[in-house]
Amino acid sequence: MASSIYFCDSKGKSLLSRDYKGDIPTSAIEKFPFLLVEAEEDQANATPIIQFNGINYLYIQHDNLYLLALTKSNNNVAQIFLFLHKIINVLTDYFKELEEESIRDNFVIIYELLDEMMDFGYPQITEIKMLKEYITQKSYQLERRSKKNQALGPPSAITNAVSWRSEGIMYTKNEAFLDVVESVNMLINPQGKVLRSEILGKIKVKSHLSGMPDLRLGLNDKIINAENNKGVEMEDVKFHQCVRLSKFENEKIITFIPPDGEFELMSYRLATSLKPLIFVDCKIEKHDKSRVVINTRIKAQIKKKSTANNVEILIPIPEDADTPKFKYSHGSVKWLPEKSLVVWKLKQFQGGKEYSMYAELGLPSVTIEDPQFQLKRPIQAKFQIPYFTTSGIQVRYLKINEPKLQYQSYPWVRYITQSGDDYTIRLK
C-alpha cells in the first residue's frame, strides 16, 4: 500500500508529509518538482501516475496543491487515489479551505488525522463525523480518575458495524430533510441535435434525528424497478455505506440507519435521450480582422409553470476580441475578457419563454494566429429548476422508526434539477 503521503505546493515542493512504511528515501520527493515539469512539457503522457527510479508517484491536484502517495509495490491504485481524495474531503471539512496556508497553520491536527486515517499504508478511519468526535482542535488532558475519560476514547461506534453513528444523539425536534438533486449533462451539436445526455441524480439527507433510527425510503417504483420498461430506467444506483446493500439487491428496499447531519444517501445515473431543457441557438459570424457578431436565441423548454433560475449562457469569443456592444431585452450581458467569454445571465426564465441577444465585438486588424487552429470551445449553459426532476423520480415515503424512543418525526422533501458540469452546445 502507500508508503508515504505528501502535501506539496504548486511547484511540487513538500509542505508536510507522513512516512508510513519507511521503504522510500526522502530524496524521492525532491525529484517530484522535476517530474512535474516534465509532465507539463509532455501533456499527452502526463498521467496521474509517474514512474521514476522504481518509485511510483500517484498524485492528485487540489487547487494549488498536489497531494501524492509514493509506493514501490503493485498496489490497488484506485484505492489510493480515492484515499487521497478522501483526505482532501476530510481536511476541507476541518479547515473550510485546504490550501498552503491552512496546512501550515494546522500541521499538528493534520499529523493527527494522517495517523488516524492510515496505518502502515492501509486506510483506516475516514468517516468525517467520527473523526471529529475524537480529533479536535482543542487540546485535552487525560484525566485518569475522571469518569469523563470515556468520552475521550475512540467513539465506540467506529469499530462497530454501524461505524458512522454514535449512540445517544438527541434532538428536541426530530426532522429529516431530503434533497433530490438532478444534474443534467448534455452535448448538443450545432444543429440542435442532442448527441449525448445523462442525468446524474443524488438524494442528499440532512438528519436531525435522535437515537438510532431505522429509516426506510420509498421511491416511485418505475425508477427503482429496472425491469419495468415504462418510465425511466435507472441505470446504476450507488448507496452510502449505511444502506443495507443486500436488502436492496434482493428486495429493492432502501433501508438504513443514517449518520447524523448531512450526507449523500444515494446517487443514480440515467442515460436517456432528453430534449434540451434550455435550448440555445447561437450563430457566431466572424469577419476576420474587423469584428465578430453573435446572435443568440434561448428558449426554456420546460413546463409553463416551472421557472429556471440563475440561468447563465457562456459564449466563447476570440481571445483578442474587444469593444463589446450588446442588444438584449432580458437579463444582463457581460464581457469577461480574462476568460474570453460573453456571459448572458437571467435571474429567472419562465417555461415556454424565448429571448434573444445580439452582441458585436471588434477584432484587431492584425492577427498572428491562424484562425483554423484556434481552440474550439463549446457554449456552456448553467441553470437551476426547482420543484422539478427530469427523471420523474419521486419520494413516496420516508418511514422513520426509532424502536426505543418512538418519537414523532417530520420528513421534508425538495426537488431540484440543475445543469451538470457538462451541459454544452458545440459551435460550428
Binding site: 512516512d19 501533456q43 503522457n45 502526463a46 498521467t47 496521474p48 501516475i49 514512474q51 521514476f52 527510479n53 522504481g54 509506493t71 509495490s73 503493485n74 490497488n76 491504485v77 484506485a78 484505492q79 487515489f81 480515492l82 484515499f83 501550515r104 497553520d105 499529523y111 493527527e112 495517523d115 496505518d119 502502515f120 492501509y122 486506510p123 487540546s139 485535552y140 487525560l142 484525566e143 475519560n149 476514547g153 469499530t159 458495524a161 448527441l195 449525448r196 445523462e198 446524474l200 441505470e235 446504476d236 450507488k238 452510502h240 455505506q241 443495507r244 446493500l245 443486500s246 436492496f248 439487491e249 442515460a271 487552429f373 484556434q374 481552440l375 458540469d421 457538462d422 454544452t424 458545440r426
Partner: protein, 698 residues
C-alpha cells in the same frame, strides 16, 4: 480582526523562521522549561521545524524527556518525533520503551492503540525485544480499536524481524483475528496477512478455506468501505473451480456494485470476473455480465485520476468481454474539459467499441475531434478513424471520406497519409479514392513515417509519374531519415524487379553509399545489390515481390496470457501500466534476465552476419530474434526487430518497471518497427505483417 491576523502571522512566522544560530539552543531550553505550556509550545516548534525539513535530530534526548505526559496532543507529537528520528538515535530509543509499555496499559484505548502503533513504526532493531509483551497484550485487548491497531503492528514487526514474529506465534494470533467478531479487526488482520504474504509468500498465510470464505462473505456487508476493499482483494486471490462456490461468491459480491466507493466497485467487478468463467454456459453467465455494464459506466463519472484507472481497466475488460459496453459507447465521447490523458484513453476505448451499427455515430464524433485544437488529440483521432476503417470494411468509405476532408481542410498531411496507408493495405481496391488526394498534398509531408508511407504507396500502386517523384527523393537522399531511406530503397528495388526500370536510381544510391550515415541502410543497400545480381530471376521475384498480407485490424491486442494476467490484476498498478510484475524483490532477478537478452541478441547477430564485408560484429543485422524460453515469464515470446530489442534492453536496464507494452502496430512495408514501444505483452495482429515485412527484405 486585523489584530488577530497579526497575532497569527507572528505565531506562524515564529514557527517557520529560517534556521539561525542558537535556535537549537533556544528550543533545547524550551524543551526542559519548568513550565508545561512552554514545553508544549516548544515541542510544536520542533515539529514545525521538522515539517519544513530542518534537521532537529540533535534535540532527541530533550524531546524524549517530555514523553510521559497526560496531554494526549503532546504525546502524539513526541511520538511523531520519535518515529521520524528513531534511526538517528537508536540507543536512546530504548529510554522511551518504558513509557510505551506503560501506555499500552492505559485505561484509555486511544492511548493503548497510539502506543502500539508508534512502537511498530520505530524501525530500530533493539525495539523488537521490548515489543513482545505489549504486542501480546494489545492483540488480545478487549477494545476492537486497539486490536485492529495491534493486528497491523504484527506486519510492521514482521518486516523488522521475521523470526521473532514466527517464534512468538503472532502469525497464529493474526489468523485467529481474521475470525474476530469485529469487522474492522478482521479487515486489518487480513491486511496484515496480505502484507506478510507479499513479503514472504512461502508462509502461505492467505490460504482461504471454505469456512474462512463464509466469514469473509459475511463480514463484507458490515465493513467500512476500506475493509470491504481488503476483503474483496483477498477474495480475488481465492481460486476455485467449483461452479456452486463461484456462483455463491458472485451472489454475495453483486450487491457491492452499488457501493458508493468506486474502488470497492472496481474490486467487486474483479472478483466477479475471476469467478464468472466457472459459470460459462449457464444462463447466469450472461445475466451477470450484463449487470457489470452499468457500474463500469458509472466509474467513468469519478474524479479524473480514478477515471484514468477505470479506463485503463476497461480496456482490459472489453478485450475479454467485447460486448459488455458496446451499447454504452457514447459515455466515452470526450468532454471538452477532460485532461488530455483522459481524452486519449477514451479514444482507445471508442475504437475498440466500434461495431457496424454504431460506427456512423462514432465516426461523426471522431470527425468533430479532427477539428479540435490540441495536436496530440487530433493526431490520435485521425489514427482512430483509420483504425475503425480497417476494422469495419462496411464503414471504410465513410472513414476515407472523413480522412480526405481532414487532409484538405485541416491540413493534417502527415497523420492522414499514415492512416490512409493502413487503409490501402486493407483495401487495395480503394486506391482510386485515396491516391489522388495524397498526391495533391504530398509536398507538405514532414514526418518521416508519412514520407515513407508515401514512397511505399508510389511503388505499390505504381502511381502516375512515380518516377519523377522517386527521382526527387533520390536526389535528396541524404536529407531523408533512415526509415524513409529504407522505404525508398525497397520501392526502387521493387520497381526494378517488376518493371525493369529505374535501375539507374539504385545505382546512384549504391555509388554514393559511403555518404550514408546509417549502417543499417548501408547494409540494406549491399543486401539488395547482392540480390539483384543473382541470376535466378524467379528467386528474385519471390523475394522481392511477395505481397504484404492484408491487415484486418490495426488495434493492438494483448497476448492471451497477458490478458489473463491483467484481468487478475484489475485496479492495481500493473493493470494501469499494462506491465509485468511490479515488485521490489524480484528486481535483481529481472536484471539477470535482461543480461541474457543482450547475449542472445549478440549471438543472433553473429549468425546473421553475411560475410566479412560487414564492418564489425556490433552491426545490428536486420532480422528477427526469438526470445528464448528463459524469458518467457518476463516477456512473452514475440519476435522483434533487432534494433528494437537493443533499445529495449537499454530502456529496461534503466528501469525495469517501465516495461510497458505499446507495441503500436506497424503495418509499414519496410522495417520501420520503430515502435515507441519496449517489450510488448501485446499480441499485435499485424505481427505477421512485420515478419512478412522483414521477409520482404531478403
Amino acid at each position: 480582526m486585523s489584530s488577530k491576523v497579526a497575532v497569527w502571522e507572528k505565531k506562524i512566522k515564529k514557527l517557520f523562521q529560517a534556521p539561525r544560530k542558537g535556535e537549537t539552543g533556544e528550543l533545547r531550553a524550551g524543551l526542559v522549561s519548568q513550565y508545561a505550556n512552554e514545553r508544549k509550545d516548544t515541542i510544536k516548534q520542533v515539529i514545525a521545524a521538522m515539517t519544513v525539513g530542518k534537521d532537529v535530530s540533535s534535540l532527541f534526548p530533550d524531546v524524549l524527556k517530555n514523553i510521559s505526559t497526560h496531554d494526549l496532543k503532546q504525546k502524539k507529537l513526541v511520538y511523531l518525533y520519535l518515529m521520524n528520528y528513531a534511526k538517528t538515535n537508536p540507543e536512546l530509543c530504548i529510554l522511551a520503551v518504558n513509557t510505551f509499555v506503560t501506555d499500552t496499559e492505559d485505561p484509555n484505548p486511544l492511548v493503548r492503540a497510539l502506543a502500539i502503533r508508534t512502537m511498530g513504526c520505530i524501525r530500530v532493531d533493539k525495539m523488537v525485544d521490548y515489543m513482545e509483551i505489549p504486542l501480546n497484550r494489545t492483540l488480545k485487548d478487549e477494545n476492537p480499536y486497539v486490536r485492529k491497531t495491534a493486528a497491523i503492528c504484527v506486519a510492521k514487526l514482521f518486516e523488522l524481524n521475521r523470526e521473532v514474529c514466527i517464534e512468538n506465534g503472532y502469525l497464529e494470533t493474526l489468523k485467529k483475528l481474521v475470525e474476530d467478531s469485529n469487522p474492522m479487526v478482521v479487515a486489518n488482520a487480513i491486511n496484515a496477512l496480505a502484507e506478510i504474504h507479499e513479503f514472504d509468500p512461502s508462509l502461505e498465510l492467505l490460504t482461504i478455506t471454505p469456512d474462512l470464505l463464509k466469514r469473509f462473505l459475511l463480514a463484507l456487508n458490515e465493513c467500512t468501505e476500506w475493509g470491504r476493499i481488503t476483503i474483496l482483494t483477498a477474495l480475488a486471490n481465492y481460486e476455485t473451480n467449483d461452479h456452486h462456490e463461484s456462483s455463491h461468491i458472485i451472489e454475495r459480491v453483486l450487491p457491492q456494485l452499488q457501493h458508493s466507493n468506486p474502488s470497492a466497485v472496481l474490486s467487486s467487478i474483479k472478483v466477479i470476473l475471476l469467478n464468472i468463467e466457472n459459470l460459462k454456459g449457464t444462463d447466469e453467465y450472461d445475466n451477470i455480465l450484463k449487470k457489470l455494464s452499468a457500474p463500469l459506466v458509472s466509474l467513468v463519472s469519478t474524479p479524473p485520476e480514478v477515471q484514468y484507472v477505470t479506463l485503463r481497466n476497461i480496456r482490459i475488460i472489453i478485450e475479454k468481454y467485447p460486448n459488455i459496453l458496446t451499447n454504452y459507447f457514447k459515455v466515452f465521447f470526450v468532454r471538452y474539459n477532460d485532461p488530455l490523458y483522459l481524452k486519449l484513453e477514451k479514444l482507445e476505448i471508442i475504437v475498440r467499441l466500434a461495431v457496424d451499427n454504431n460506427a456512423n455515430l462514432i465516426l461523426n464524433e471522431l470527425k468533430e475531434y479532427g477539428y479540435e485544437f490540441d495536436v496530440d488529440f487530433v493526431k490520435r483521432s485521425v489514427k482512430a478513424i483509420g483504425q475503425i476503417a480497417t476494422k469495419l470494411p462496411k464503414k471504410s468509405e465513410k472513414a476515407i471520406e472523413i480522412l480526405i476532408n481532414l487532409l484538405n481542410e485541416r491540413e493534417l498531411y502527415d497523420q492522414v497519409t499514415v492512416a490512409l496507408r493502413d487503409i490501402l493495405r486493407s483495401y487495395p481496391d480503394k486506391s482510386s479514392l485515396i491516391i489522388p488526394s495524397i498526391l495533391q498534398h504530398h509536398e507538405h509531408l514532414i514526418d518521416s513515417e508519412a514520407i515513407s508511407s508515401f514512397i511505399w504507396i508510389l511503388g505499390e500502386f505504381e502511381v502516375f509519374a512515380y518516377d519523377t517523384n522517386l527521382v526527387n527523393f533520390v536526389e535528396n537522399f541524404k536529407d531523408l531519415e533512415a526509415n524513409a531511406q529504407s522505404s525508398l530503397i525497397n520501392t526502387i528495388v521493387k520497381i526494378i524487379v517488376k518493371r525493369n526500370d529505374l535501375r539507374y536510381l539504385f545505382d546512384k544510391i549504391f555509388n554514393e553509399i559511403d555518404d550514408i550515415d546509417s549502417i543499417e541502410i548501408r547494409d540494406e543497400v549491399y543486401l539488395y545489390q547482392r540480390i539483384l545480381s543473382l541470376d535466378n530471376s524467379k528467386e528474385i521475384n519471390k523475394i522481392i515481390l511477395t505481397k504484404l498480407n492484408k491487415i484486418s485490424n490495426t488495434i493492438p491486442k494483448f497476448q492471451p496470457e497477458a490478458l489473463e494476467y491483467l484481468i487478475k490484476e484489475l485496479s492495481t498498478l500493473s493493470s494501469v501500466l499494462f506491465t509485468t510484475r511490479i515488485s521490489k524483490d524480484s528486481k535483481i532477478n529481472q536484471i539477470t534476465k535482461i543480461k541474457d537478452i543482450k547475449i542472445n541478441v549478440h549471438n543472433e547477430e553473429n549468425l546473421l552476419d553475411f560475410d566479412g564485408e560487414d564492418d564489425s560484429g556490433d552491426t545490428p543485422a536486420v532480422g528477427s530474434v526469438n526470445l528464448l524460453d528463459e524469458l518467457n515469464d518476463l516477456f512473452t515470446n514475440t519476435s522483434f526487430n533487432t534494433n528494437s530489442v537493443q533499445s529495449n534492453s537499454i530502456a529496461t536496464s534503466n528501469n525495469i518497471n517501465d516495461l510497458d507494452f505499446g507495441f503500436e502496430n506497424s503495418s509499414n512495408n519496410n522495417n520501420s518497427t520503430d515502435n515507441d514501444s519496449s517489450v510488448n505483452r501485446i499480441n499485435n495482429n499485424a505481427n505477421g505483417g512485420i515478419n512478412k515485412d522483414l521477409l520482404d527484405l531478403f
